[in-house]
Subunit: 92 residues, 5 copies
């Protein structure tokens, strides 16, 4: 998984019917996890996250297992909200 | 998922029979999502997108779940059309 | 998917029995899709491609769906041959 | 798989119910495997690893097969603890 | 798939029970396939490869299909041994 901050939203009216009712959240990957390579990803939310939240994002096929139905055409889902930035304890 | 602009098409007559009837669209990953690493990808379309559209692309195994049949040999499918560039609200 | 040119072959006699009868083709990712990150990949062929052909390659789990049996241990399969380089129409 | 050192933890109270009871461990990819591209990943543990341990991490869909239930929404799981740094024998 | 040379081994006694009996081989991705991005990966072996062998590695979910059981928690499996470096014929 990666950690990132929700920094925005995207509106898409014409979309796959299975995605209707889902918010598209723009997640900026947290610099400790970003190694300059992931930048921003678009994720759907499964835990009530919003702009400004620090979140845990599952990528790839696992992203579907956090959705209500296992055939959602998504490759990134927010599966947790980090309680507080200080809860990211990383020994330098 | 990633966001990008449809910038072209590719024609392939000799292809896997399951792909017949699908348009191959070249998607240039939107610079906020590009982190210099994704460049262009080839995707099939599931929502009626065309050249010039700003689109949402699902990658990996999820790409098959946006197709009519779950055994399509594709790893990138357009699952949404962004209504308007201004609908990409990203707090700097 | 990505687009690339078949630039070589690899011979491997001692291999997984399910791979017997398959050609290993070296595909150099086409510079518009390469963003300096993919370089060369090894793919098996499902449409009769050969050295010199410009091809469409499906990556990841979808690669198995272009094979005769869905349990092939492959992560890259050629699923289309581009008719002609001019058929790659990309608006700059 | 990749090899890395557990360097921290993350606390997330509001998370997918299936993740309850799992520790989120921050793994810094071991420089021989890091090629400047993977940096840190967040993994769950399946073998009793803790901060300071050198571990083997499985990524992608395989990560679920190291969990108790195959529908865990995770894309990285620790599947082994390296006995000792000297047990990483790599010929230069 | 990628091509690489087996350059080492890793010993892990405390590991997922399904991995018991498998050798962890360190594979250095062959420079023509490395594009500076893949570096080393840890793979299990399915064809009797050893240190010094030039091998073909399948990545992602396909890696499980080269194992005896389809629920192995692995994302990289050696599926072929290249007969000889000269058998990698790549037109410059």
């Amino acid at each position: 998984m990666v950690v990132g901050k929700v920094v925005g939203t995207i509106v898409s009216t014409r979309k796959d019917p299975k995605l209707i009712g889902n918010k598209f959240l723009v997640v900026d990957i947290y610099e400790k996890f970003d190694n300059g390579n992931k930048g921003k990803i678009l994720a759907i939310d499964s835990v009530g996250a919003g702009v400004g939240d620090l979140v845990i994002v599952t990528l790839g096929s696992a992203a579907r297992f956090a959705c209500d139905t296992p055939d959602m055409p998504v490759d990134a889902t927010i599966v947790g909200i980090v309680d507080d930035e200080k809860d990211i304890r990383i020994n330098s």
